[in-house]
């Protein structure tokens, strides 16, 4: 009895891994052209955007993430942001602006070759926290920084 259960388990395991390998091959092109998470991008609050984008995953605050941005910005239409994740294996970097009409600004999916560094320029409608969420080894970490904006940049 023990033996046959064990054998069944092994068979299931082998079948399962074959299926996974097969699925992996199928999934690759799908990942390369992953559907845009429209709900997250059209969310109106930070909490809603995070809930849609990171569905119920815990996010741990971390000092390792450095958000390079000026404390005071004159023109909200062009806010340079530099992110250093501080994690050796960062697989994604997500930028949100709490008080923008749609807080989710950008997501970057990094291959293992990429350093945990991204620099870009974003628009800020008004003074707000910038939130950065980093995925590393299947865990999520976040940092936030307040930026004062003199003239909003969402047109």
């Amino acid at each position: 009895m023990v033996n046959s259960t064990r054998r069944f388990f092994l068979k299931a395991l082998i079948a399962g891994s074959t299926l996974l390998v097969g699925l992996g091959g199928l999934l690759k092109p799908l990942i390369a052209f992953a559907e845009r998470n429209k709900e997250a991008f059209s969310a109106k609050t930070e909490a809603e955007a995070i809930a849609e984008f990171f569905t119920n995953q815990d996010i741990i605050p971390s000092d390792a993430i450095k958000i390079g941005v000026h404390d005071l910005v004159e023109n909200g239409a062009v806010v340079p942001v530099e992110i250093n994740t501080g994690f050796p294996e960062a697989s994604s970097i997500t930028i949100l602006v709490e008080k923008n009409p749609n807080p989710l600004i950008a997501n970057f999916d990094l291959s293992p070759e990429c350093s945990g560094f991204i620099a870009t320029r974003i628009k800020m409608a008004e003074s707000s926290d910038i939130i950065v969420v980093v995925r590393s080894q299947k865990k999520l970490f976040s940092a936030r920084k307040f930026v004062e904006v003199i003239e909003g940049g969402c047109g």
Binding site: A106, E113, C114, S115, T120, G155
Partner: protein, 104 residues
């Protein structure tokens, strides 16, 4: 027509730094045309993908709140001088562009 994508690369200690500018209006859909007073329809890049040779190394999903003429810089390993780096974008009007640079 000149490419909408400008790419600069530099290699140091095995790491390649990429700096790029994608020429694009990135209209949010909230702005008004100063002459006509009409709202300018949203027009913005949604996706940017970067390949080193045939390998996908970076994939970006953007909202309308990335600044006009978006700037994108990142760092990656494993490239040598002479390799090809390809950057492609596509926007919400299904327009797109691709450019290649030789890493140096």
């Amino acid at each position: 027509m000149a490419s909408s994508i400008k790419i600069r690369t530099s290699i140091k200690d095995g790491l390649t730094t990429v700096r790029s500018i994608l020429r694009h209006p990135m209209h949010t859909g909230y702005e008004k045309d100063p002459e006509t007073g009409n709202t300018i329809p949203a027009h913005y890049i949604e996706k940017v993908i970067v390949h080193h040779g045939n390998k996908l190394i970076l994939q970006c999903d953007w909202s309308r709140a990335v600044s006009s003429n978006p700037y994108l810089s990142f760092i990656f390993s494993g490239a040598k001088a002479g390799d090809t780096l390809r950057i492609s974008w596509s926007d919400n009007k299904r327009e797109s562009d691709t450019a290649e640079a030789i890493i140096q």
